[in-house]
C-alpha cells in the first residue's frame, strides 16, 4: 500500500519505520530543510523523503497523493493536519485519511467535514490503525484476552482468499476458534454455519490456544 505521512517528527518517523518494515511504500513529507537533510540513514532507509509543505496541493501532487491509499497528517500543528486532511480528501479523494490531534480541544474539528476518516492522538495507536486499514488478506490481532490465552483477530478477505464463496461450516476452522462477526459493507452479519463469505468481508475471529496458524490458513491461504 502507498502511504504518505506528512510531518517527519518523532511520530511521523516512527510510523514510517514501522510501516516500511511491514512492507508498505512510505513517503515522508517535511517542510524543514534541516529535518530532511539530517534524516537518519539507517532506520528509515527505504522511506522516500520529500522536502515541501504538505499544506500545498502541489506538494501533495508531487508525492503522488492521487495514487495514495493512505494519507496520515501527523504534524505538530492541528491546523496543518486539518488542511492536509481536507486537501487529501477533496483534491485527491484519498480513501483513508488519518490525522493526529495535538490539542484535545481541537478534536471536535477532526471529522468528515475536514476530510478526516480517523483521528488519533498517540503514535502507537496511529500505526495500529494504519496497519488495520491498509491490510487486506492478512491476520490482524485486535485484542488479547486473559493474558493472551484468547485473541480477537480480524482478517479482511482478499479476492484470492480460499474462504470466499464457502459456508463457514465448510471452512474447517479448528474447534478452538470461532467466527464472532462478519462486517460487510457497513453492516454486521451475525455468523451462522451457512453464512457464505465474500471478498472484502472483515471477519472477526476469536482464537484460543495455538490454532492461530490453522485459522490463518483457512482465511488467508
Amino acid at each position: 500500500m502507498k502511504v504518505i505521512i506528512a510531518g517527519a517528527g518523532s511520530v511521523g518517523r516512527y510510523m514510517a519505520e514501522q510501516l516500511q518494515n511491514s512492507g508498505h511504500e512510505v513517503t515522508l513529507i517535511d517542510n524543514q530543510v534541516n529535518v530532511v537533510n539530517n534524516r537518519p540513514k539507517d532506520s528509515t532507509g527505504g522511506v522516500t523523503w520529500h522536502l515541501g509543505d504538505a499544506c500545498e496541493v502541489a506538494t501533495l501532487e508531487a508525492v503522488g497523493a492521487a495514487g495514495a491509499d493512505i494519507v496520515a497528517a501527523v504534524t505538530g500543528d492541528d491546523e496543518d493536519n486539518l488542511v492536509i486532511s481536507l486537501l487529501s480528501k477533496q483534491e485527491f479523494a484519498v480513501p483513508r485519511v488519518l490525522a493526529r490531534v495535538n490539542n484535545p480541544k481541537n478534536e471536535w474539528m477532526f471529522n468528515d467535514m475536514w476530510g478526516v476518516d480517523v483521528s488519533v492522538s498517540t503514535p502507537h495507536l496511529l500505526t495500529g490503525l494504519v496497519e488495520e486499514a491498509v491490510t487486506v488478506g492478512s491476520f490482524v490481532r485486535l485484542l488479547s484476552l486473559e493474558g493472551g490465552k484468547a485473541r480477537l483477530a480480524e482478517v479482511t478477505l482478499a479476492a484470492n482468499s480460499p474462504a470466499i464463496g464457502k459456508e463457514l461450516a465448510a471452512l474447517g476452522l479448528p474447534r478452538e476458534s470461532t467466527v464472532v462477526a462478519v462486517l460487510r459493507g457497513g453492516h454486521v452479519v451475525v455468523p451462522r454455519g451457512d453464512t457464505i463469505l465474500q471478498a472484502a468481508d472483515e471477519v472477526v475471529v476469536l482464537v484460543t490456544g495455538g490454532v492461530e496458524d490453522d485459522v490463518r490458513a483457512a482465511l488467508v491461504g
Binding site: C55, Q90, E91, M113
Partner: protein, 108 residues
C-alpha cells in the same frame, strides 16, 4: 492565534492542469474530471452538526452527487439548472461523490 507561517512560500504551479471532460457514466473515482448536467435534486445533508448541501446532477447517462460543506444553499444552483462540475470524485460503494468541487453555472 494563527501565526504567520510559510514565509518561504514558493510560487506553485496550478495542480491538476486540465480536467478530462466525460459523461457521468464514464466517470471514475479519483480522476480529475469535468461533467455537465442538470440539477435534479438538492438535499440539506448536515454532517457532524455542520450544514452541507448535496446536489444531484444528471446527464443522459447517469447521476452524480456533489456535496458542498458548510452551507445550505448556493446562489444560482437551483433545480433544473445546468451546471458544470470540476473535481475529483470519491467512491462511496457504487456511487461517486464530489466534495467541494468547483462549479460553473451554464446558460439555461
Amino acid at each position: 492565534m494563527v501565526s504567520v507561517r510559510r514565509k518561504n512560500r514558493v510560487q506553485v504551479s496550478e495542480p491538476h492542469p486540465e480536467p478530462v471532460s466525460v459523461s457521468i457514466a464514464d466517470m471514475q473515482a479519483r480522476q480529475f474530471v469535468c461533467v455537465c448536467g442538470k440539477v435534479t435534486r438538492m438535499t440539506a445533508r448536515p454532517t457532524s452538526g455542520q450544514p452541507a448541501l448535496a446536489v444531484m446532477v444528471s446527464d443522459d447517462t447517469g447521476t452524480v452527487t456533489a456535496v458542498w460543506t458548510g452551507r445550505r444553499s448556493i446562489g444560482g444552483v437551483t433545480l433544473g439548472r445546468r451546471i458544470a462540475i470540476k473535481g475529483v470524485a470519491v467512491a462511496h460503494g457504487a456511487k461517486l461523490e464530489f466534495t467541494n468541487p468547483s462549479y460553473t453555472l451554464l446558460p439555461r
